[in-house]
Each structure stands twice: as C-alpha cells, then as structure tokens.
C-alpha cells in the first residue's frame, strides 16, 4: 500500500518538474471491429501544458474520443506513449491506475453521472473515501468544495432532487475532491440549457485559474471553446491543427474551422 513507483521519465526528458501535465508521443490506436482493423489514431503527438484549459474538437469518428480517453488514463495506446504527469500509463498496473484516477484526474461527464443513491455531500465524499480519507475529514472537505460551487444549501439532496445545472456542479465538486492535476470534462454542457451551460463554463474556468488545474474537455459548445486557452482539432485520427484563443474568430456563436467549414 505504501510502495511507490517512481515517475517513469521519458528518455532524454527533463528531470525536473515538466511543464506538461499530459504528453502523447506518436500514439497509434488500432481496434478490431468485425474482423476489420480500424485505425482510430495515427501518430498523435500532443503536449498539454500545466494549468492549461484545452478543448479537443473533431467530428464523430475522428478519433477525438479515443484521444480524450487516452489523455484521461481511461484507455491505453496500441503504440506510442502517453505520459500523465510524466508517468507512462502503459507501465501502470490496475492498482496504480486506480490510484491515478482517484488522485490525479477528476472526471466530469455529459450525463453528470452522480451516484443516484447518494446525497450531494456523499457523492463528493466518495472519491475522498476511495483515497483513504476518514469520514469526518471527507465530510468537512466535501462541504467546503460544495460551498465553493454554491451548493452549500443542497448537500443533503439526492441527484434526482436537483436541476441539471446543480447536478453538474455537484459533479464538478466531486471531480475536484482530491485536488487533481487534471480535470477531464466530456461535453460538460451537452445536457444543459444555454444559461446553465454558461454558468458551468464560468465555474470551470474560475476553478482552472484558482487551482491551477489543467482542464481538458471534449466539446462542441462554442461558449466552451471561447474560454479555452487552446483548441486541438482532430481529423481522421490525426492532429489537424492547434489554435490559440487569440487566433480564434468567434462570430455570433460560430467558429470557423480550419477548412472554412462551419462546425455545426
């Protein structure tokens, strides 16, 4: 339980704290589907900066989800390396992966994914319990985080008794429970109306600044793209282009893609 695995540093990589939270090097991913080999990713190399707010974009089937899952430690590459906090995730066993998901990564889902049988407070406490925190400390900490997302008054409510926006805020509080390095947000505004989505984005952006956590999101929401530091475009399993926010042309809620086509 106390044994540790030293971070596996990439060959020739830096020995000090890297400025990258996630790096992928020539990542390939092939899947067998019905006897046919499908290449989901073809040599993707991206580096995500510490504290960055990055959005991954791409049409469905582009490999976007595969890459997203990989940088979140949910999937492993067929070839190439994925480093999360300079640790090669392919080297980790099930216990280490679970530890990593628990401590280093916070997940936010399109469908909120709160545990329906638990109250808001218990939902936020769950990752802390998994991290081995005792109940009293977890309660205090969870309450603090819920207050931060302005749900201090709803800690006793079950997900079913809350609105979508409130549920997503609980989910965000849960993602931040163990002070992760990375927040992985999968279409966090996908199931929310315009205004609620805006509030969620502001909250995420605020927490990103406040805690210096890296936020990686897969999204189609233009409001989300607008606050991103960078946008990573994936097409046909490759990195199509990487845009900085300064370079974005945002006009009346539409964003022009690399090839001039609208992304709706």
């Amino acid at each position: 339980m106390t044994e540790t695995v030293q971070p596996v540093l990439p060959t020739g990589g830096p020995t000090a704290l890297s400025e990258y939270t996630v790096r992928t090097i020539d990542v390939n991913r092939t899947d067998k589907m019905g006897g046919e080999t499908v290449e989901a990713l073809k040599g993707v190399s991206v580096s995500i900066n510490r504290g960055e707010y990055i959005s991954i974009m791409g049409p469905s089937g582009s490999g976007k989800s595969t890459l997203f899952n990989m940088v979140g430690g949910l999937d492993k590459p067929s070839e190439g390396k994925v480093y999360i906090d300079e640790v090669d995730i392919a080297q980790l066993d099930a216990y280490e992966l679970a530890w990593m998901r628990c401590r280093k990564i916070g997940y936010i889902f399109q469908t909120f994914n709160l545990i329906p049988v638990m109250t808001a407070l218990e939902n936020v406490m769950l990752p802390m319990i998994f991290a081995g925190l005792n109940t009293a400390d977890a309660q205090d900490k969870a309450f603090d985080i819920l207050k931060r997302v302005e749900l201090g008054h709803r800690i006793k409510n079950k997900p079913m008794e809350m609105s979508g926006g409130q549920q997503q805020r609980v989910a965000i509080a849960r993602a931040f429970a163990n002070d992760p390095t990375i927040i992985l947000a999968d279409e966090p505004t996908g199931n929310l109306d315009l205004n609620t989505g805006k509030l969620i984005i502001e909250l995420l952006r605020g927490l990103n600044k406040e805690k210096g956590v890296t936020i990686i999101s897969a999204t189609h929401d233009h409001k989300m793209l607008a606050v991103s530091d960078r946008i990573l475009w994936i097409r046909d399993g490759k990195v199509d282009k990487i845009q900085r926010r300064e370079d974005l042309k945002i006009e009346e809620g539409t964003i022009e893609g690399a090839h001039g086509e609208s992304l709706h």
């Binding site: 949910l74 216990y95 679970a98 530890w99 769950l126 002070d179 406040e210």
Partner: protein
C-alpha cells in the same frame, strides 16, 4: 483550501488502497434502500423458493413425527388406559378391580394388583395426587414404590383415575392414534417404507427444480441490475474504485437480499405449512413435533437461501468488476 497543482512536483504514483469492508457495506445498503423495487424483485424470488423448500421440509418432518406418535403410545396414555378400564367396568356394573400393570403396557411390574373401589372414586383430582406423590406420571415402578410408603395416596390416586369428567377424554386420547392413522390414509399420505422412499425422491426432484428456477431468476435480476448500472459502475471506477470493491459491493448487496429474502421465505413457508397441517389434522399435527429436526431444517434452509443468492450474484459481480471506466462516458441510457 488547496495548493495550486501548478507548483507541485509530480507525486510518485502509488497503489490504490483497499477500502475497509464497512464502506462497501454502507454503500450496498444505500443501494438496496434506494432501489427497493428492484431489490424486492430479487428478494421475492428467494422468498418463494425458500417458502417452498421449508414448507416441504416442515411437512415431511411433521409427518414423520405424527407417524412416530401413532406407533409409539406415549407414557401418559397408560393412565388413560387405566381410566378407560375404570369406565368400562363401571358401565358393566362389575366390581372395580384394575391392574396397575396397565400403567405401562409391556413393562413388567414387581408389585401385586391394586384393588380399586368405585364407590369412593370421585372428588379428587390430579394436582392433589401429584402433591401427594411428587411428579406424575413417573415410571410404574416409582409409582408403586410411592404407594408402598404412602398407602393413603392410593385412595386419592384411585379417585383421580375415575374422575367422571375425565373418563370420556381418556377414551378420546386412547383412540387418537387410530383416528390419526385413518386421517392420514384418507389424505393419501404414504405410510409404507417403500411409499415413503419413492415420495421422498419425488419431492427432492421438485425441490431441485424449484431452487434451479429461483437461482436463474436471481441471476437474471442481478445481471439486469449490473447492466442497468453500467454508468454508475464506470463512474465509480473513474473515481478510483478497485475491481475488488465493485465485487464486494455486489456480493454484499446480494448477501443482504439473500438474508432478508430467506428469512421472509422461512417465515412464510413455516406459517403456511403449519396452517395447512393444522387445518388437515387439527391438534394431531402438534402432538409430536420434532422440534430439533425443524430447527435443523431452518438452519439448513437459511444457508441454502443465502448461498443461492450470493452464488447468483457471483457472475454479475465479476461482470461489473470487469467493466471499463470508459463505460461512464457512454451517453445512451
């Protein structure tokens, strides 16, 4: 509240700790309470199967007890026989002379026949005799020894034996085994050893089938509850749950359901078989209840019920544990 992650050096990766069992118990308990209808579905299958199992076992055991009772006249009947003799002799107008040897058929007495006097027979009752002689009925030997030391007790004993109100009751009690045997025959209860054996084999088959059906039902309900909760399981894994924790969660949940379902089933089954036997055989059903055997049946059925439920949850639990955390990302419900 927290230090910004930006300034931290990467923390070496550690191994996820195993949670204490109480946490899994806590979460499993919440799951059952919240998903009561689903739990009841699983539980109802166990209740039915166990009610069936225990009622068949109970009926079988009670039948054995009743057959034994028919064949072995209990000690207390010896007194009834004496009383019956008293009644018969009195009605025939014969002088009452009852042989104390009748106290126990087949047991040889050392003493001489004791004459009974019908004229002085009324007025006394059992408690007084008991007060005089100590516990009644003792063995005939003890009784005779007591009479030898306290001759005045003989009179009271005779009075008790020939208490007019109790004489017809004594006759009923004496004929009870024959009446019960007739009842059982009328109901088609197997009586010969061959019949009993073939009946037992039939029931075993029936029981096996019932338990198999219950097992498949439990398995089905558990598999459904796993498929229903794929996203929840995936989410828990994203939050750092180990496979062993997920397995524990489902096994503990099934353990709870197994215990509740089995206990309910036992109560229902015992109640139903008691009711059925009482309505058919009246108080005969309760004459010679093999309590220790019934207790054994209850313990056996409890373990069968719980084991069946947990066994039914093994595969679904393993299935849930193998679920990838990516399952949490799936959008379709």
């Amino acid at each position: 509240m927290t230090t910004p992650a930006m300034n931290q050096s990467p923390q070496p990766v550690q191994r996820q700790v195993k949670l204490p069992l109480t946490k899994a118990v806590e979460i499993a308990w919440k799951n059952i309470r919240m998903r009561l209808s689903r739990s009841l579905l699983v539980t109802s299958g166990i209740v039915l199967a166990l009610a069936f199992l225990i009622s068949i076992q109970t009926t079988e055991s009670m039948m054995v007890g009743m057959r034994t009772w028919i064949n072995e006249v209990p000690e207390s009947v010896a007194f009834d026989r004496l009383r019956w003799d008293v009644m018969r002799l009195t009605s025939e107008g014969k002088p009452l002379e009852v042989d104390l040897r009748n106290l126990s058929r087949g047991v040889k007495l050392k003493g001489n026949p004791v004459p009974f006097d019908a004229g002085k027979a009324f007025g006394s009752s059992l408690p007084e005799i008991q007060k005089e002689l100590g516990e009644l009925p003792g063995t005939p030997d003890e009784l005779l020894a007591a009479f030898a030391t306290k001759p005045e007790a003989v009179e009271k004993f005779k009075a008790w034996l020939s208490n007019a109100r109790q004489l017809p009751e004594a006759r009923d009690r004496l004929t009870a085994p024959q009446r019960l045997a007739a009842d059982m025959k009328k109901n088609g209860v197997p009586t010969t050893p061959e019949e009993i054996e073939s009946n037992r084999i039939q029931t075993r088959w029936l029981l096996g089938l019932a338990l198999l059906v219950a097992f498949v039902g439990i398995l089905n309900a558990m598999v459904m509850s796993v498929t229903e909760r794929f996203r929840e399981i995936g989410t828990m894994k994203c939050l750092g749950a180990l496979d062993s924790f997920i397995i524990r969660l489902f096994l503990i949940e099934s353990l709870f359901q197994g215990i509740v379902g089995t206990v309910l089933g036992l109560v229902v089954g015992l109640g139903m078989s008691a009711l059925a036997l009482t309505s058919t055989y009246g108080s005969f059903a309760w004459r010679n209840v093999p309590w220790s055997q019934l207790g054994g049946n209850v313990v056996f059925c409890f373990f069968v019920g719980v084991a069946l439920t947990v066994a039914g949850a093994l595969y679904p639990a393993w299935q849930a544990a193998r679920m990838e955390p990516i399952a949490a990302m799936r959008v379709e419900a």
